[in-house]
Structure formats: structure tokens, C-alpha cells
Amino acid sequence: MNEKIERLQPRLLKQFQHILEQHKLAHAYLFEGARGTGKKEIALWLAASLLCVNKQDGKACRKCVNCVRVFEHQHPDVMEVAPDGLSIKVEQVRDLKAEFVKSGVESDQKIFIIEDAEKMTAGAANSLLKFLEEPDGKVTAFLLTTAKQRLLPTILSRCQLVHFSPLPKPILIQELEDKGISQNQAALLVHLTNDIEKAAALSEDETFAIQRELIWKWFKWLTKQDDEAFIFVQTDLLQYFKEREQYKLALSLLLLLYRDALKLFYGQQADELAFPRYEQELRQFIAQKSSKQLTEAIEEILLSQKKLESNVNAQGVFEQLAIRLMQKLSKPLSSLT
């Protein structure tokens, strides 16, 4: 376990070891960073460090009965809360609080870990406020999030914020290649996730391979400004991208293609691309494009992402995007004074 933390967050590990040695662990933390960056692992390790019966310089021994139960999610004084469906509801926070009014089952130290904290409803978040500020008894809170900007400022200001940066992409790529994944594939995967396991799973997913090909096809239709790009949404895309997460994936893949084009435009290294396999084609693509056209295309896709987030009908979003991308990329805006 420590090995994993050591690999993912060596700097944070040191920092928290220092904090534990000084007995300066705060009562509320917000761990913020992409998936697969070790937030949960550090939270559990800190929880174990608080409960361990055989602390070593303030740190968890990982062997005692308490440590073992914490890591196996079995300790009664460590409560883990995760979204129930799409959100964390006010009842869940209420249950949590009720649990903590009781004295610790085995000690007076209690820990709660809230995953995807940004998914708390307004009610849930607000009802957590007072509790975060003045928890009854010895309570330590770890809120984990991938999108801290979606949390209430009043929650943020009650927590110590710790940023979890992802592993550098070259290292992730190397790790994936060590698992026998091709370089081309690895380059794309690390642009979609920081989670090695998730990336490895994706690499074996046949649907994903088809989806990737489809987006490339779509990109080519769009480049040719062929009406087919519009029709393609219904005839092909939506056959393979079928729900919210997949719609988002489709746009992310397309976004990465235009972003690669922009990177090539500005002479960045080919090894930073998500699609090194299409480098030659992308170079041809940018030959007649301006950076303004490329950034506008990227902005169109980002805007479509937002539309999806607010639950606009996916087919509509894709079709509109196709039209607008073809407009943007064909007609340079020359509306000069």
C-alpha cells in the first residue's frame, strides 16, 4: 500500500509523514485531483495512522488489528460515504452525523471519508458545514473530489486543500508499455485517465477500439466538410456511444484530435500527442489551417461538453457540433475592420 502511495505521490507522502510526526494533522481535508492519483489511499493511510495501536513515529504500522481493518474497510470508526446514484444526499450526511454523535465504537477517534464530495447536493453540503467546523469529539474528515470548483466555497474554506497531481504522462506511458500495451495505445489512454488499472482495462475493451476508430472517421468526414459527417452521427456514432459517459468520451476523443493538431501547429514534440498514430495525417490537416481555426474548433467541442453536462439531447449536440465545425474549418473569419 505504501508502495502505491510512494509511487503516485512521493511528495505528499513525505509531507504527511512530517505532519504526523509533528501531530499536526488538521481535522478536515479536501483532497483534490484526477482519478487514480491516490486520494483514497492516502486518506485510508492517514485514518489508519490515527487509529493504529502500534504507531511508529505517528505513522500506521499496517499490521495491527486496527490498521488491517481500516485497509479492509472494516473498521467501525471509519465511515466511508460515496454517491448514492448520481449524488450524495442529505440523508446520507445526516446518517453520518448521527453516527458521530455516538461516541467512537472503539475509541474516541472517528474518521469519515466522503468520496466524490462534489456530488453532495446543496442540502447535503450545507448540512455538513457546521459539522466540519465544530465536529463533536475527535473527528477527522477527508473529502475527496475530482472537481473542487463544484464544491461550495463555504466547504472549501473549512478544509485544508491538498492537490493531488497526476503522474507525469511519460511515466504512465512507460508503465502501460511494461504491461504490454502498445505505445500508440498507451499515448491515447494516458490522455483519458490517470488510473493505470482503468487504462489497462480500456486497452482490452473491444468496443473502445471501435469507438476510437469511429471518432477518427468522423474527424476525417469533418475535415472533408462532407455532409456525411452530419449523417454519420445517427448512422454510426450513436450506435456505439450509447449513454452519458460514452457521449463524453466521444467528445473527449474528438477534442484530443484537434488538440493534437494545435500542438503540432505550434511545433510541440510528437511524443506529447494523444494520437501519435495519426501524426502524418494531422500534419497535412494543419497545413491549410490557422491557429485561430483550430482554437475555435476546440472551443466548439468544449462548448458541446458543457451542453452534454446540462443534459441537452446528445444527438442534437453532436449534429450541431458537426455543422459548426465544418463551418469554422472551411470559412476563415475575415471580418476585419
Partner: protein
């Protein structure tokens, strides 16, 4: 032992200890002294600005038998019980957890009874915006017929969610974001009391990141303390807040100033790779832009700067960059900040912003308008009025300061190039290559589609299969896929003239177009590179302290790297080995060999220009 957060230990116990809200606390004290308190208050304002603290102090003061100058004594039994939250007559309600009608009815029923111990019953309802409609109605009834000796204090960060009928029955106080100075003063006091050492600049960094909230400031301070060994250091403050050093900010600004998109993007990548927070980066940049603006207009008033440290590079930057550019920068960053709010693609937004910022004057004076989102318009308005206020502030500041304007590009008079019958004009091409820059090329490639669009139909047909392959401030090399079109373009004076004048409109200067066929170009380029490689090597000993003059300045980023955008070949590769300038990150720039090569190349440029 569990560690007590500073903001809990140092919660203000007297009105005087509430930082940065003097107007409000003075009014409250006066009311207490004169016995003219209201029966319902509404405290609004951003998080961490002292609303709840003020409410509790008020509850103590109105009940304290030893009230002095409007402040509670904090030593009597009543005061102490209230501090501990143990006095039955002071009831704190968290509206977020008790937002139903039942709870408020309950309050109504109980409020009827006189206080048991204290003189006044005080209900403090926190997060009052969370009450349900029914609960608000029940509350309204209570406020309409206020019971004797009962005071309601409602606190909220979101006053727009409170019904007007409620607001109109309260005395309202709007708590402001706390100023940097006030936050720093309070932190200094606390650190001195706690006997913790600190580097003064570190408090500046913490206070800035707190964005006007005292609780935020103390949370960040706590964290900075926990990272170190009994001293708050600048390094730990930067690490906790994810802020950038001034050096990095200046680097990024010079990329903007020199329209060096590539540099801007690689800096951005470096910053994000260090784990810096994207939102903090934008915020830092905005504040820094403001400081540059302020300093530009009133260098004598450096004490009003929010974040910047006035040193040589800062002063130089403030003289080089135009205020128009700074206003545009702030505008683009504000838009980016708004867009980034609800996305997981912060890095992509920043890349787009970097392109826009570095292309600012290259395309048009003002950047692309982006679609406004109704939901965010309030925020935008706020920012715009802030910007407006800043403009006014600047106007009223000392007027006599001599104004510095943007460094203008040197005169762009195109040289006469012999343009006879078609045949690649190698000497003209060499001349362009001698001072070619990547920025010039990118700028031209950027506007190329726009340019084609402006041409007549027949002209466009000629130019359709053309691509700019190298450019300097005065010359432009265009490669053509078809020999016949190349011939045509070179001999068509009207076309050459039209391109010149359209380019002048698009980018503000008119480089002379020199044509070459796609077939010839690689050879000419490779010859040039070989030739120069030899020259460079033969000159390694010759050192020059001469600085390139204005005209060369734009070229100084190496004319070699612009060639890289075409297909690599042997000539390019050999030069690339010698001068890996632009592709190299910062670390390589510090490599003495590279620096030497750059200097050399700079010198080379000077000599070619002079003959």
C-alpha cells in the same frame, strides 16, 4: 493529540478582533452602547468574513453585565457560557440541517417564553438561505410580531435566496471581503502570539490565496505551518496555495509580449506538470496584470500593488507591455476563468487562452468574443465593474508619470527584391532566412486562410495551393505545389501588391513575397543550412557583446527553428543539433553551449543584415 485549527482557536471574541469590518462592528457597538438594537439582523457576505463571529459577540455583548464601549467582557459567567455554546438563551441553529417548517414553528413557540438566565434570547440562524419556503413563511410570522426580548440574527452567504419580505424586516449588514492588509495584520498578530516565525512575503502569498476570507487564510496558514519546521516559509506558502513565483509569471508575460505562442504553451505545460492549480494560475495572472497596469501609471505608488514585487524584471515588463495589451489580457483571462469553472478540461481552456493571449495583436486588436452564458453574467458584470473601477483608479492616480507605450515593431518598409522572370531568387531567399523568425511564420500561416479569402476569385485560384514556409519581418517565402502557379504568382504584380496590402491590414506589416516551388524549397533550405552551419562553426571563437538592434529582436528566437515546421531533412537535423533552441525547454536554455550558439546565431543575423 488532535491539532486545533487556528481558525477555531483564534475565533474573534470581541468586535475589535473581527478583521476588516470596522464599519459594521462600529455600528453594532454604537447600537449596543445606546441601547438601540434591532430585533432582527441579517448578516450577509462571502464565507469567512466574520458573520457568525459577529453574531456570537453580539449575543454576548447584549447580555453581558460588564459591557464596555460596546464590547463584551468575555470573563463573566454569561459571556463564558455563550462562548462555550452552553447558554440556553442563545440558540444557534444550522438552517441547512433544520430547514423544515416544524423546526421554525418550534422556534416560534419557544421564542414566546422569556429568556431564562440572560436578558435577551438570541437566535442565530446560520445558512438561512437553506430554509424551505414553508419555514420562511413561519419565520416571517415571527418577525412580524417580534416577541419581547428576543433577537434574531440571520446569517447567509447567499442573500439573493432570501425572500424580500424577510429582508425588509431586518436590519441588514453586508460583510465585505477582507482586505489583504487586514488579513496580513491579523495573521501577523496570531503568529506572534503563537510564537511561530514567518517570512513576511509568505503571508502575502497566503492572504492573496484566501480571496478575502479570514477562515480560508488561517486554514492555508495552518497548512503552511504543518509543512515546515516552525517557520512559515515562502516555499511552503507557494506549495500550499499552488501559486506561481513572480519569475514564472514574468516568463509567461514575455511570451505574450513577444507573441511567442510556442513558448507560452511550453511554459503552461511546465507549470501544470509541477502540479500548480489551473484556477490559481489564472487568478495569479489576473492580479499580476492589474499590478502591471497600476505600476505603469503610478510607479511611485508601489504600496498599492496587490501581489507583485517591484524588481528589475517587473519594472522592465511594465515598460515594455502596453496598457491595451494588459486590458485585453485581463479580459481574456476573465473569460477563461468563467469558462473553466465547471469543467474537467481546465488545461485545454488554458491552452486556448495561451494561444489567444500570444496572438493578441497578431490578428485583431480584440480577441474573439465568446458566447456569454446567462447564468454567469452576474460574475462577468462584477468583473467588468471591477475593471472599470480599476480604470478610474488609474486615471485619478498621478497623471504626470510619463506614459510608456508598447514597444512597436521597427519600420517594416519592404526591401526591393528583384522580381524578374520566374527562377527562385536565391539571394532574396537567403536574406529572408537570415532574419526569419518562427513568430513571423506562424503569424502568417495564421492569417493565410483569411488572406486567401480576401483575394479575388482568379487570384485565389493562383494562391490556393500555396503555403508560407518561412518569414521574416520583411520577407515571406511561399511555396507552391505547382510550378505553373508559382510562375504565375511571381509575375503577377497586381497579385503581389494585393497580398502586400491585405497582409498589411491583417498583421500590420507587409512582407515581400518570394515564391518558390515545393520541389525547389527543400534543396534551397538545405543549402542554406549547410552554408550557415559552416559559418557558425567557424565563428565559435568570435564573441560579441553587441546586442541585436530592434529589428533583430524579433528574430532573436532563432531563425533555425522556423524551418522545423517543414519536413525535417539532413541539413535541418545538423543545425538542430547545433542549435536546439526553441524545442528545448528552459533547462536547456541554461546550457552554456546552447546559449553560446544562440549568441552566435544572433551575431550571425546582425552580420547578414548589415551587408
Amino acid at each position: 493529540m488532535s491539532y486545533q485549527a487556528l481558525y477555531r482557536v483564534w475565533r474573534p471574541q470581541r468586535f475589535d478582533e473581527i478583521a476588516g469590518q470596522q464599519a459594521i462592528t462600529q455600528t453594532l457597538k454604537n447600537a449596543l452602547i445606546q441601547g438601540k438594537t434591532s430585533h432582527a439582523y441579517l448578516f450577509t457576505g462571502p464565507r469567512g468574513t466574520g458573520k457568525t463571529s459577529a453574531a456570537k459577540i453580539f449575543a454576548k455583548a447584549i447580555n453581558c453585565p460588564n459591557l464596555k464601549d460596546g464590547e463584551p467582557c468575555n470573563t463573566c459567567e454569561t459571556c463564558r457560557a455563550i462562548t462555550k455554546g452552553q447558554l440556553n438563551d442563545v440558540i444557534e441553529i444550522d438552517a441547512a440541517s433544520n430547514n423544515g417548517v416544524e423546526e421554525i414553528r418550534d422556534i416560534r413557540d419557544k421564542a414566546k417564553y422569556a429568556p431564562t438566565v440572560a436578558d435577551y434570547k438570541v437566535y442565530i440562524i446560520d445558512e438561512v438561505h437553506m430554509l424551505s419556503t414553508g419555514a420562511f413563511n413561519a419565520l416571517l410570522k415571527t418577525l412580524e410580531e417580534p416577541p419581547q426580548n428576543v433577537i434574531f440574527i440571520l446569517a447567509t452567504t447567499e442573500p439573493h435566496k432570501i425572500p424580500l419580505t424577510i429582508i425588509s424586516r431586518t436590519q441588514r449588514f453586508d460583510f465585505k471581503r477582507i482586505s489583504l492588509q487586514a488579513i496580513i495584520a491579523r495573521m501577523t498578530y496570531i503568529l506572534e502570539q503563537e510564537e511561530i516565525r514567518f517570512e513576511p512575503e509568505s503571508l502575502q502569498i497566503v492572504a492573496r490565496a484566501a480571496e478575502g476570507g479570514m477562515r480560508d487564510a488561517l486554514s492555508i496558514l495552518d497548512q503552511a505551518i504543518s509543512y515546515g519546521e516552525d517557520t512559515v516559509t515562502v516555499e511552503n506558502a507557494l506549495s500550499v496555495t499552488g501559486s506561481l513565483t513572480q519569475e514564472k509569471l514574468i516568463d509567461y508575460f514575455s511570451a505574450i509580449l513577444h507573441h511567442d505562442t510556442e513558448k507560452g504553451l511550453s511554459l503552461l505545460q511546465e507549470i501544470l506538470a509541477e502540479g500548480k492549480d489551473a484556477a490559481r494560475f489564472v487568478e495569479d495572472m489576473i492580479l499580476f496584470s492589474r499590478d502591471l497596469l497600476v505600476y505603469q501609471q503610478a510607479p511611485a505608488k508601489s504600496e498599492i500593488l496587490e501581489t507583485a514585487r517591484v524588481d528589475e524584471t517587473f519594472t522592465a515588463m511594465s515598460q515594455e507591455i502596453s496598457n491595451t495589451a494588459l486590458y485585453e489580457t485581463i479580459k481574456i483571462l476573465n473569460e477563461t476563468q468563467r469558462e473553466m469553472k465547471l469543467t474537467n478540461h481546465a488545461d485545454v481552456y488554458l491552452e486556448v487562452a495561451t494561444v489567444k493571449l500570444t496572438q493578441m495583436q497578431a490578428n485583431t486588436a480584440s480577441p474573439l468574443p465568446t458566447e456569454e452564458k446567462a447564468a454567469d453574467s452576474q460574475k462577468v458584470q462584477q468583473l467588468e465593474s471591477e475593471l472599470q473601477a480599476l480604470k478610474q483608479q488609474l486615471q485619478t492616480l498621478s497623471v504626470q508619470q510619463s506614459q510608456t507605450t508598447a514597444a512597436r515593431p521597427a519600420k517594416r518598409a519592404p526591401k526591393k527584391a528583384a522580381n524578374g522572370a520566374f527562377k527562385p531568387n536565391v539571394s532574396a531567399i537567403y536574406k529572408v532566412l537570415g532574419v526569419a523568425t518562427k513568430q513571423n511564420l506562424l503569424q502568417l500561416r495564421d492569417v493565410w486562410p483569411d488572406l486567401l479569402d480576401m483575394l479575388s476569385v482568379t487570384q485565389r485560384a493562383v494562391m490556393k495551393a500555396s503555403t508560407p514556409v518561412a518569414a521574416s519581418p520583411e520577407g515571406l517565402i511561399v511555396s507552391f505545389d505547382y510550378d505553373i502557379l508559382c510562375q504565375k504568382a511571381a509575375s503577377d504584380e497586381n497579385l503581389v501588391q494585393a497580398i502586400g496590402s491585405y497582409l498589411n491590414r491583417l498583421i500590420g506589416y507587409a512582407p515581400q513575397m518570394i515564391t518558390v516551388t515545393a520541389e525547389q524549397w527543400p534543396m534551397i533550405r538545405s543549402d542554406y543550412l549547410k552554408h550557415h552551419k559552416e559559418e557558425i562553426q567557424s565563428r565559435t571563437k568570435a564573441e560579441s557583446t553587441d546586442h541585436p538592434k530592434e529589428a533583430q529582436k524579433t528574430a532573436s528566437s532563432s531563425n533555425a527553428s522556423q524551418l522545423e515546421s517543414a519536413e525535417p531533412d539532413a541539413g535541418w537535423e545538423s543545425l538542430n543539433q547545433l542549435i536546439p533552441v526553441d524545442e528545448a525547454g528552459e533547462e536547456q536554455k541554461e546550457d552554456p553551449i546552447v546559449t553560446e550558439a544562440v549568441q552566435l546565431f544572433g551575431k550571425e543575423i546582425v552580420e547578414v543584415q548589415n551587408d
